[in-house]
């Protein structure tokens, strides 16, 4: 067993530890805030494993590398493979056609087909189903990943850590705290609702030119609404505007959301490089895993695997950047 230190117990650090442990390493995980919780942006994610939807606007590499994410996550947590529904209001049909052109593997649904798949949304006469996509519950996934690591004798130590003071190879996966050059924060805001009457079982994306929305079912009538994407590094609580916009959009999607209980709101910064593609920056014996942007759960498995392969086999994957 070769020793390695992982700093940062978010989705990137934990998944790196997981891959490394499978390749014969013994990782020691250190996080100044301890195990995953509200202090880390992984806590606030949507948990959609939607490489095709994301590929509509993201670099093609995201769709390609993200396609494996559902299988990787399924090794440690429950992954629901019901696909994604994409809907648009009547007047925004053009948005749906554009989306369809860029979303390979979609199935165009008319009102009847949609009613069969999801009667609650039958008011929306135009929709796409993207069957290969999946979702998970991010907080459950982090807990399950932690448990899987624990089975291998790996736990998270609560301590300050500086890569310079640590001997041997180091994975630095601290997100925004790493303050790498060109790393910026992109603000996101989310809402968690309890709406027991609504029975969506797959993520729904509402296309809208100004107020796009996604709704991710968490089971038990709980839904996560997300997420704004604002070029700002302000960490203040959710704005009234974001609440208004997201809840109005949810109401348009299904009027019963108006009666939902608001369980939680959240805000955090997504660490992103200028191309919004995550990378492993190699600086001597320190590997920085960062820049997951809005693709934490989608891209952490690929990022972690490339880091582990680099350390174990000296393979240079396309996310590896040698400084």
């Amino acid at each position: 067993m070769r020793d390695i230190t992982v700093i940062g117990a978010g989705v990137a650090g934990l998944f790196a530890a997981w891959h490394l442990s499978q390749q014969g390493w013994h990782p020691r995980i250190i996080d100044r805030n301890g195990p995953p919780g509200p202090h880390g942006c992984s806590w606030w994610a949507g948990g959609m494993l939607a490489p095709i939807c994301e590929g509509v606007t993201a670099d093609p590499l995201i769709a390609r590398l993200g396609a494996q994410a559902a299988d990787d996550w399924a090794q440690v947590t429950t992954v629901t493979r019901h696909g994604t529904l994409v809907v648009a209001l009547d007047r925004d049909r053009a948005e749906l056609s554009r989306f369809a052109r860029r979303a390979p593997g979609h199935v165009m649904l008319d009102g009847a087909a949609l009613a069969e798949l999801k009667p609650d949304l039958a008011d929306h006469r135009h929709a796409l189903h993207i069957p290969p996509e999946a979702h998970l519950n991010p907080r459950q996934a982090l807990a399950d990943l932690l448990a899987a690591l624990q089975d291998r004798g790996i736990t998270v130590e609560t301590a300050e850590a500086d890569a310079q003071d640590i001997a041997g190879p180091v994975i630095d996966a601290r997100g925004m705290a790493a303050s790498l050059p060109d790393l910026r924060g992109v603000r996101g805001e989310m809402i968690v609702l309890h709406a027991p009457d609504i029975t969506l079982t797959r993520p729904v994306r509402l296309l809208h030119p100004r107020h796009p929305l996604y709704v991710v079912p968490r089971g038990g009538g709980i839904f996560m609404l997300g997420a704004t994407q604002i070029e700002s590094d302000a960490r203040r609580p959710i704005t009234a505007r974001a609440l208004l916009e997201m809840l109005s959009a949810a109401y348009v999607l299904d009027a019963r959301f108006a009666e939902a209980s608001v369980l939680e709101t959240g805000t955090d910064l997504r660490p992103a490089f200028r191309d919004n593609i995550p990378r492993v920056t190699v600086r001597g014996r320190v590997l920085h895993l960062n820049g997951l942007f809005r693709h934490g759960y989608l891209m952490a498995p690929a990022l972690a695997r490339q880091a582990a392969d680099y350390l174990t086999h000296q393979t240079r994957g396309e996310l590896i950047h040698e400084d």
């Binding site: 910026r184 604002i230 700002s232 590094d233 200028r274 919004n276």
Partner: protein
């Protein structure tokens, strides 16, 4: 080319900085377009985000902050003052939205904000309709540039009211004018310049294209073509076909 508050631009293309797949794609799009002005929204983007503001500054071209999303004069004035501090420019694209759905300008709020800001030393680029009376009032308020819309923001419909726009252009021949909003295709941009407008401002048409960088280049070429054509004194429109070469003396068989 007419100057904008004393600044002569290298290109009649002004490009927005929102909605790109990534800042890297935005940077490439700007480079491919040859745009001379970058507009940036203060309200949401870079409210406190130093990083994005710096990426926009690094484009190395003129920055035109805007008051996008403001629904009354007071909001717009506050946003403009914030923009002046952050970007250290007196330029402000003044946008006061009057209707949440069509995003058409509120002419009354616009005039009120323009008067206040011009008196406060701002160099105002008002986003306005093609209304000639309002245009005169904005000029009286101190605006030395006008930004009439082509069509509603984000609609991509091009020049919706050609008669109105032509009349406006002819009514104020010395005022620099930018067609702002509604441009969906490079041909719309060329059209605006051929009609004698001095520049075009667009964002979604490039940022939301499947290949923003290619579309940016297409717009860069289109504004060049339009500006060249406008300067070349285009032929007039005739009601009938007219031969380019004399018919007399031509072999008939």
């Amino acid at each position: 080319m007419r100057d904008f508050y004393g600044v002569t631009l290298d290109s009649p293309l002004m490009l927005g900085t929102a909605q790109y797949p990534s800042p890297a794609v935005m940077q490439q799009a700007f480079a491919a377009s040859g745009a001379s002005v970058a507009t940036v929204s203060l309200r949401r983007e870079s409210g406190q985000g130093q990083a994005f503001g710096q990426i926009v500054r690094d484009l190395g071209i003129h920055i035109l902050p805007n008051t996008a999303g403001c629904h009354n004069a007071r909001e717009a004035i506050t946003t403009a003052r914030m923009a002046r501090e952050i970007f250290e420019t007196n330029w402000i694209k003044l946008e006061v939205i009057g209707h949440a759905d069509t995003l058409q300008p509120d002419p009354f709020g616009l005039l009120e904000a323009a008067e206040t800001l011009a008196a406060d030393g701002f160099e105002v680029f008002p986003y306005t309709t093609e209304d000639q009376v309002l245009a005169q009032r904005l000029i009286d308020a101190g605006c030395r540039v006008l930004m009439p819309w082509g069509a509603p923001i984000g609609s991509g419909m091009g020049l919706n009211n050609r008669y109105g726009l032509r009349t406006l252009r002819e009514a104020f021949p010395d005022i620099p004018m930018v067609i702002d909003a509604g441009i969906g295709l490079p041909s719309h941009a060329a059209d605006a310049l051929e009609m004698g407008f001095d520049a075009v401002l667009l964002n979604s048409a490039v940022a939301q294209a499947g290949d923003p960088v290619a579309m940016a280049r297409a717009f860069g070429l289109a504004v060049q073509a339009g500006a060249l054509a406008a300067g070349a004194d285009p032929m007039g429109v005739r009601d009938m076909g007219a031969p380019s070469t004399p018919l007399i003396g031509k072999a008939w068989l």
